[in-house]
């Protein structure tokens, strides 16, 4: 199988860029390049990762300034041409601010930063991110965020549901959604969504933090491997 190349964007304040690089390159064996926010070359990446962190110190609103970085113009064009983009945590917030995904993130309902493993029900397997998860329909993946409370108006929520754009929902370990399983107050327990073309994924949980067996959980690798298989099969 041809190896896909991932590009990991580095903004000032990104702090999961090295985790993503390490997991994709050293653990999963894919080609990976860092993409500096001031550059405008995606270095022939097959898929772009917008990593977690606090780009530009979360000034104004999370992700609000990062979307004006020179690299983002290329990322938006890449996404609009069907290129695969994954925004994780702060990356998801940037995708929302950039308008590549609908909705907005509010402060967690609890007002507290939440950092723990959560369970995700795979709400749709009709995406390159979830179509080969080795038959798993509930994943355990850590979250770490203060602003992960997904909000959108009713029309947007309805269209997300109708178009099968909700990919992951917070649930318990059996895949049952309820309020206690929702770490941040997100509407419809939303943890991850795709755009209508289904090539851009935003998710709050961190798959790059659970790819290595030595850490006791490799559910995150399933998502990256699904992308890799879909890109070249």
């Amino acid at each position: 199988m041809k190896k896909p190349k991932f590009g990991v964007v580095v903004f000032p304040g990104s702090n999961c860029d090295y985790d993503a690089y390490y997991s994709l390159k050293k653990v999963l064996g894919y080609d990976v390049s860092f993409l500096w926010h001031k550059d405008t070359d995606l270095q022939n990446s097959d898929a772009i990762i917008l990593p977690g962190g606090f780009s530009y110190g979360d000034y104004l609103r999370t992700g609000a300034i990062a979307r004006f970085s020179p690299i983002m113009e290329k990322v938006v064009a890449f996404a609009e041409n069907g290129g695969v983009v994954i925004g994780i945590c702060n990356g998801f917030q940037i995708l929302l601010e950039a308008g590549l995904l609908p909705g907005v993130m509010l402060k967690n309902k609890s007002l507290k930063f939440v950092c723990k493993d959560v369970y995700l029900k795979v709400e749709s397997d009709k995406s390159i991110f979830t179509n080969t998860l080795e038959n798993k329909n509930v994943l355990r993946i850590p979250v770490a965020h203060g602003d992960g409370n997904y909000f959108a108006d009713e029309a947007t929520l309805n269209s997300l549901t109708e178009n099968d754009q909700i990919i992951f929902k917070y649930s318990d370990e059996n895949g049952v959604e309820h309020e206690e399983a929702n770490p941040n107050g997100s509407l419809l327990n939303i943890a991850g969504i795709v755009n209508t073309k289904r090539n851009v994924l935003g998710m709050m949980p961190h798959p790059e933090r659970c790819c290595s067996g030595i850490l006791g959980n490799t559910d995150g690798a399933l998502i990256f491997n699904s992308v890799a298989k879909s890109l070249f099969n």
Binding site: L60, R61, F68, L106, K107, K109, L111, F151, A152
Partner: protein
């Protein structure tokens, strides 16, 4: 040159958890009659042009494209020659 003052308010339909937390704090202090607290943003800046129409357009651009997220917030502004 114009001095602009912008008030950025969350839409009424959007929960304001910071406002809620402040109210809870107020109760702990024995301030008991506070209700409907909303914590909004106030931004001030200068627009370096003498053309009023151009200044207005720039303020609207700045507010609409960067300072606010239209999913979440509305804004109003005042400007005065300074």
């Amino acid at each position: 040159m114009f001095k602009a003052k912008v008030l950025i308010k969350r839409r009424p339909s959007i929960l304001d958890p910071q406002g809620k937390a402040a109210e809870q704090g107020a109760k702990l202090l024995g301030i008991t009659n506070i209700k409907f607290t909303r914590i909004d943003k106030h931004v001030e800046f200068v627009v370096d042009t003498d053309d009023e129409e151009a200044a207005k357009n720039e303020i609207n651009d700045y507010c609409g494209k960067l300072l606010t997220n239209p999913n979440l917030e509305d804004y109003e502004f005042t400007m005065e020659r300074g």
